[in-house]
Symmetry: C2
Subunit: 186 residues, 2 copies
């Protein structure tokens, strides 16, 4: 039985790994549970045993990112000024983008992921709170542009295929240094 | 006759305007010459009178960007050091991204545009020369990350819908200030 081939635990992780690889090749919408099963050399039922639907599977793939975001929001909201909250969220964003850089490169800008997030009130709320903390504080026009450079620069450098050879530690250090430098301009 | 409705000159510009609006709504692949004609309230023949094919039309839309890039490459290549060449190309990139920000927002990352550019040796060569000048000079790992923050930050800030209310002049000034600040770290 396929079920015995893919038990829980590591089998679940193998499905997630195969899903991520296929998402990277075909996008979320272009990947079926059937393709994931074929990649693993098991029946579709073995994949369904781990995830009831493709939506469930995509949620399981992106969940770690939203869990991190929610944790950062909680940590930041305890701080007393909008500037302190923004600085900790931006610093957390760097750490998060680097740690999930492989995943982010696969999912960034995928419309299927965006609409899934929007359809889940708890995920959409996390993104909204996070964004509010990042853009918090009274920024003038100049500050808004610099902040966009920081945030977009972090996201896109983390997923830049030209920087894929750079270690997580080096990437983290350089993004933090660049951000510290720019954030002074706000 | 449709031909008389869309003469040359401004009629050509009206087709380009309608095409850009539709590209923004449906992507390049999702837009047909028929849809462009319908948007303008003219027959398809009137559009074909201006552009022989959709490819011709897309090329006409993106051409100003590649002309600017080619001009920048020519200007930069006259300079004597890799650093001077890089700095002028990055500064030119800001000016270019801001001036074409509406167009860039529509076309950025559109796979149809990317493959059209790759299929045209002269456009692909311009992009390659431009990229070589931007990444020129001996950059260590840290420098490569900072440069990615600069270049990606410029691109994405220019097309960021949250910054659409900021004037071209203010956007230009802030991106230049942020870039000057970061480029010192290279």
């Amino acid at each position: 039985m396929a079920r015995s081939v893919l038990g829980r635990g590591t089998a679940r992780e193998r499905v997630l790994e195969a899903a991520m690889a296929l998402f990277g090749e075909h996008g979320v919408n272009g990947t079926s549970l059937q393709m994931i099963a074929a990649r693993l050399g098991v029946g579709k039922a073995a994949v369904y045993y781990q995830f009831r639907s493709k939506e469930d599977l995509v949620l399981a793939v992106v969940e770690p990112i939203y869990d991190d975001m929610a944790r950062l929001v909680t940590i930041a909201e305890a701080l007393s000024t909008a500037e302190a909250r923004r600085d900790v969220v931006v610093s957390g964003l760097i750490e998060m983008c680097v740690r999930h850089r492989r995943l982010a490169a696969v999912l960034y800008g995928d419309p299927a992921v965006d609409s899934l997030v929007q359809s889940r009130p708890e995920l959409a709320a996390t993104v909204e709170q996070f964004t509010a903390l990042v853009t918090g504080g009274n920024l003038d026009t100049h500050g808004r542009v610099i902040l966009a450079m920081i945030v977009n620069g972090i996201y896109t450098a983390a997923i830049d295929p030209n920087l894929a050879d750079i270690s997580d530690a080096d990437l983290l250090q350089s993004l933090q240094a660049g951000t510290r430098h720019l954030i002074k301009m706000l």
